[in-house]
């Protein structure tokens, strides 16, 4: 006597074809018939017979409807002594057709570089039929496919999960998988990520002072976080230059920058034509444009720098040099000491 049963059916997306598998014990199964019923009405919604010997039956895409629950029976056909017989299974488990969920790890895509020894996973999930997540896991595999780190069973997608002690300079594969309350499978697949620690640099020594009377060492730092603000059409050239020759382009260093009383500011530049303001020093009650100038003197045409305190009207001129070409690098050195400015320029060549 042959027997047949339908294997467990989990929720699936009705817009895609789905293979229903069944178990069978008896003479060779020559064909099978599936009848799918609406579980709410018990009405047959799909009835199909296929002549195949494999123990499966494919429900075509868009045959069923997402959001509806179903069950089915399978009838297996076989022959014995030249006579065809059949056997019908008990009704299968009830399953629900559900639209495919979107399931991903926030901010993580193929090739993502994790710049730290830990990573905090946040899941992203949505499902058109309002299905909720039942349980899921997050796993990091190494290149040999072994789980390097795995979470416990997780139930709340709004809770971040942190994987720690990720090894530097390694490739790992992140995967989040689980299921919904009706058994819809969720799986991000393996996402290749690279762990490459971002190592910060701090170019500041500790400044140390032995205090023999207090018995301590005074430790101080000079750490300044300064980043210029670029305006207009500027670009970096040759990795080590910034091109501010375009009209209207400039870079301003203001945040956290401060020099008072005595200071030195110097720069190396090229490509500055005559009568252009190349630098402006400013502050409260202070505005000092530094401008390229040229003129005809007894020794010929010469190039120099004008430094003008526009508040007080004080003007200082630098030393004079021969007119540089636009490719000549000019070293500019400006010093304020005791309220007196000094400005020196030198042509450093192309």
């Amino acid at each position: 006597m042959a027997t047949v049963y339908v294997k467990n059916i989990v929720a699936f997306d009705a817009t895609k074809e789905q293979i229903i598998t069944f178990g069978y014990d008896g003479n060779q199964c020559t064909k099978n018939r599936i009848i799918v019923y609406n579980s709410a009405t018990n009405a047959s919604v799909y009835d199909d017979t296929v002549t195949v010997q494999t123990l499966e039956h494919t429900i075509p895409a868009n045959t069923l409807t997402n959001g509806t629950s179903y069950y089915c029976t399978i009838t297996a056909y076989y022959t014995s002594g030249g006579i065809e017989y059949n056997v019908t299974s008990s009704p299968s488990n009830i399953w629900k057709c559900l639209a495919t969920a979107t399931w991903s790890i926030n901010g993580l895509s193929e090739g993502t570089i994790i710049g730290n020894s830990y990573y905090t996973f946040m899941m992203s999930y949505s499902q058109a039929n309002g299905e909720t997540v039942n349980e899921f896991y997050i796993v990091l595999y190494n290149q040999s496919g072994t789980a390097y780190w795995s979470s416990d069973a997780l139930y709340d997608i709004s809770v971040p999960v942190t994987a720690s002690n990720l090894p530097n300079n390694t490739v790992l594969y992140a995967r989040a998988y689980g299921s919904t309350i009706n058994g819809l499978q969720l799986d991000t697949g393996k996402i290749s990520v690279t762990v490459d620690y971002t190592v910060p640099d701090l170019y500041s020594n500790a400044y140390l002072e032995n205090d023999k009377w207090h018995g301590w060492v005074k430790v101080t730092t000079n750490v300044l976080d300064i980043e210029g603000v670029g305006v207009g059409n500027y670009s970096f050239t040759g990795d080590t230059y910034i091109d501010l020759s375009a009209s209207g382009s400039s870079v301003e260093f203001g945040n956290n920058f401060n020099v008072n009383k005595n200071f030195i500011i110097e720069s190396l530049f090229y490509g500055a034509s005559t009568n252009k303001t190349i630098m402006t020093l400013s502050g409260e009650g202070l505005s000092i444009p530094i401008t390229t100038r040229s003129g005809t003197f007894a020794s010929g045409n010469l190039f120099f720098i004008e430094l003008k305190d526009t508040v007080s009207g004080y003007v200082l001129y630098s030393n004079m040099i021969n007119i540089p070409s636009l490719s000549d690098h000019i070293h500019l050195w400006v010093q304020r000491y005791g309220g007196i400015y000094n400005c020196i320029i030198k042509n450093m060549g192309a």
């Binding site: 720690s164 500041s204 400044y207 140390l208 032995n210 300044l224 020759s245 110097e266």
Partner: protein
């Protein structure tokens, strides 16, 4: 005014002050050129066309324009740094101890560290480093060396510190428990020395007066108050770090019930003594942290 035949300051406005001001420069803008670098310092450097490298305490801006507009001495955005650590090790040793951690780093002011390391022993060469921490990663460090040299004896609990250099005497013994067992049938006894106890203890005596650095004198008049504060400090039940100018140092607790004053030649010449017993390794960051001397967990 005729001075040595010259009209000294004879012209109008000759003695007027230079019409500039020394207001702070808080912005510098560059434009109309192609720039290799921009550098600012408050150090009094002589003129040079050499490209400045690195940072020191006077550097205020150093922009290299290496595909970015960073001009500070920190190569990352402020918001990404979680803390700054002060690390220290004895010169020649391998392992660093974190002695201070500046946390959290929210504004640029948080990047400025002012820390008094009271846990360094005297007559010792140390390396110090400031290390930025980025999540769980420590950045590269640049170390500076210094040889400590203190005057007198110092006792600190990490916060308060008392010191003197007057008539300091320190007795010291090393203790390891041993038992001598004699037996009837042996000429010689057995010495049993179980356990790993191995610690220092002793007595410290000194004339405790506060030194006034401004007057370069000892505050004899305030000596009683200083001594009373010292006794309260010694009896506050917290572990102490005791260190002497010759380089000796102990992580210890005060172990005598009494703190004894002994007057010498006059009422104001008082020698105060107490016992101490070593309770941990004074060079171990973990021991210092466990005993509340430093706040930085290793």
């Amino acid at each position: 005014m005729i001075f040595l035949g010259y009209a000294f300051a004879g012209g109008n406005y000759t003695l007027d002050p230079t019409p500039t001001n020394e207001s702070d420069v808080t912005n510098v803008t560059i434009q109309n050129g192609i720039y290799d670098y921009l550098y600012a310092t408050v150090n009094a450097l002589s003129y040079s066309t050499d490209k400045p490298t690195g940072w020191d305490f006077g550097t205020r801006l150093n922009a290299d324009f290496n595909n970015n507009l960073l001009a500070g001495n920190i190569t990352f955005a402020l918001g990404k740094v979680s803390s700054l650590r002060v690390k220290r090790r004895k010169y020649g040793e391998t392992n660093w101890s974190t002695i201070y951690e500046q946390y959290p780093i929210i504004t640029s002011d948080d990047l400025s560290i002012l820390y008094y390391d009271k846990t360094a022993r005297s007559n010792t060469k140390y390396e110090y480093a400031i290390v930025p921490v980025f999540g769980q990663s420590e950045g590269y460090l640049f170390s500076e060396m210094l040889t400590t040299n203190y005057q007198g004896i110092f006792i600190t609990d990490g916060t308060n510190i008392f010191n003197t250099e007057l008539d300091v005497t320190i007795s010291e013994k090393r203790t390891k428990q041993r038992t001598v067992v004699t037996t009837i049938n042996r000429k010689y006894p057995y010495v049993i020395s179980n356990g790993s106890n191995n610690y220092n203890s002793g007595t410290i005596s000194a004339q405790w007066l506060e030194y006034d650095h401004e007057t370069d004198d000892w505050d004899v008049d305030g000596g009683r108050n200083y001594l009373a504060d010292l006794k309260d400090f010694l009896n506050n039940n917290s572990p102490k770090l005791i260190k002497y100018q010759d380089g000796r140092m102990w992580l210890a607790e005060i172990s005598s019930s009494d703190i004894t004053d002994t007057e010498d030649a006059s009422h104001s010449q008082v020698h105060t003594s107490f016992d101490y017993t070593e309770i941990g390794d004074c060079d171990s960051g973990n021991d210092l942290y466990d005993n509340g001397i430093i706040d930085a967990q290793q």
